[in-house]
């Protein structure tokens, strides 16, 4: 019996790397992206000149595709600058899968870098402000996620303590990851004692502002088996966009992750019950709750009790954001690529103290804008094809 679509398992991740997570003083964003790219290419046992498909999205450089190609000294056949915010890198994987399958390219590099912490000192956003939002001076992006959280609390009885438990779980994972920027004890009371930024979200409900870069290399399954590292197959990849401004989302407690997830699962031939480890874009604590619901790990409205039960913490039934996530590991403006890097590390068995024993299937999920662009990838070891 065949599972899923004809695309499942046709492409594989063969290289993955991070660089400068936390603080990388003195480096430009392109230098951080280039170094992450160099490390991922080396991890794949390749040379920069092997890369003929290049995918990047930097907030501060509209033409970053050309900048990074020149910096790496490569001449890609395909340069993709697709920009959907923090989900961009998962959409890059989707497009790389198609281009590889079509034979248009042989080796794809997806990379990202930011120096927003030591360079700008705050979140660098490429989002065009809406003329219908600007006069109200929303402290975006947090304001939009706070509005969604307020509605989630109203409709389902979700509490501030449940939101805080997301940040606590992320910190517990970060404490197992020597690369994480923010480590140390964190309790629900600690989270609730931090300053409110946009009710109901506190500082500790919000992702970090850090530097950092990440990169992955993809190729076709036939080439992947000749390379040094255990290939991680891309079994399904799908994206969905429903809106841009939060006021335009039909039900702000339901994101397009519901749709991207369903299509990615259908392509992969697996469902949420099969997934061993989840890495999703936790820009704010409400994201984890909403995406776990939208991606089918619990029913809509049950995300609060689910996360508060300890299910997503170390030792729980569903490991979520095992690197510590954007809340405690690293958040260099756009975090999406790290969801794939951490999934690859878990499936390769490279995750050290935070390793999920026997992990075979991982789900990576990216979010862009204000819950606006959603992209889901299902990754698995060769035996899952």
């Amino acid at each position: 019996m065949t599972r899923g679509s004809h695309l499942r398992g046709k492409a594989a991740f063969v290289g993955a790397a991070t660089f400068g997570c936390g603080e990388a003083p003195g480096y430009t964003a392109i230098e951080i992206a280039a170094e992450a790219g160099r490390l991922a290419i080396a991890d794949a046992g390749l040379k920069p000149q092997d890369i003929d498909g290049l995918f990047i999205c930097l907030p501060a450089d509209f033409l970053s595709g050309m900048t990074i190609a020149e910096h790496l000294g490569i001449h890609p056949k395909m340069t993709n600058n697709s920009r959907t915010g923090g989900s961009a890198f998962l959409t890059h994987a989707e497009w790389a899968m198609l281009a590889l399958d079509a034979g248009l390219i042989d080796y794809a590099l997806i990379c990202y870098g930011s120096n927003q912490r030591t360079g700008a000192g705050k979140l660098v956003s490429a989002q065009m402000p809406s003329p219908f939002e600007v006069p109200y001076r929303p402290n975006n992006p947090v304001a939009s996620y706070a509005l969604a959280a307020s509605r989630h609390m109203y409709q389902y009885g979700t509490t501030s303590e449940q939101l805080a438990s997301v940040a606590v779980a992320a910190r517990q994972w970060a404490n197992l990851n020597p690369e994480a920027f923010r480590r140390g004890p964190l309790s629900i009371e600690d989270v609730l004692a931090t300053r409110l930024v946009a009710d109901p979200l506190h500082v500790a409900d919000c992702c970090l502002v850090t530097d950092g870069g990440a990169a992955v290399v993809m190729t076709r399954a036939d080439r992947a088996k000749d390379l040094p590292k255990t290939p991680v197959s891309l079994l399904g990849a799908a994206s969905a966009t429903w809106h841009m401004e939060i006021s335009q989302l039909a039900d702000v407690t339901v994101s397009a992750a519901q749709e991207s997830g369903q299509r990615a699962y259908a392509q992969a031939g697996y469902g949420p019950a099969d997934i061993d480890v989840v890495n999703l874009y936790d820009a704010f604590s409400i994201n984890t709750i909403m995406f776990l619901e939208d991606l089918g790990f619990c029913a809509k409205g049950e995300g609060g009790p689910f996360v508060a039960s300890g299910a997503i913490s170390p030792g729980g039934s569903l490991p979520v954001n095992t690197n510590g996530g954007g809340l405690s590991f690293c958040h260099p403006g756009m975090y999406g690529l790290y969801t794939m890097v951490e999934s690859i590390r878990q499936l390769r068995g490279e995750a050290g103290d935070r390793q999920i024993a026997g992990a075979k299937l991982a789900l990576a999920h990216g979010n862009g804008g204000t819950l606006s662009s959603q992209a889901t990838c299902v990754l698995g070891l060769l035996e899952t094809i």
């Binding site: 109200y136 706070a146 307020s150 930024v197």
Partner: protein, 125 residues
């Protein structure tokens, strides 16, 4: 025929003291924010109509400011006609604004040059 510039028309109406939004007579669809095309039906016969000005708070937050600046309410209000808009609910403490609260529109000076629509509780003076 294409629409007159939607964004500019909206703010010009506010400058003239009128809160107007778009509506398609052929489909009955009300549209906010103003656009070239109705987003669900695709209708282009959009006319500018004054809504009732009444609505319900759909979502609410408080933008916490560094003292001495005052905290500010930020809300999404669902107009009785259907569309939703980002706005402020004013005249009560920002954290007392609640989802489900009935509100009505007022035109006030915005932080830039133009006028903006804010809301107050429906029964406020």
């Amino acid at each position: 025929m294409s629409q007159p510039p939607p964004t500019a028309t909206y703010f010009q109406n506010l400058a003239n003291g009128k809160f107007m939004i778009q509506r398609s007579p052929s489909t009955g669809e009300w549209v906010f924010y103003p656009r070239m095309i109705a987003p669900r039906t695709g209708a282009v016969d959009l006319e500018w109509v004054e809504p009732s000005g009444l609505g319900t708070v759909y979502a609410t937050s408080v933008k916490r400011m560094k003292p001495p600046a005052a905290d500010v309410n930020l809300a999404i209000v669902e107009l009785d006609e259907g569309p939703r808009m980002m706005t402020h609910v004013q005249s009560i403490p920002p954290e007392e604004v609640a989802i489900g609260m009935r509100v009505r529109a007022q035109i006030v000076d915005g932080p830039d040059d133009g006028k903006i629509v804010v809301f107050v509780p429906e029964n406020a003076a």
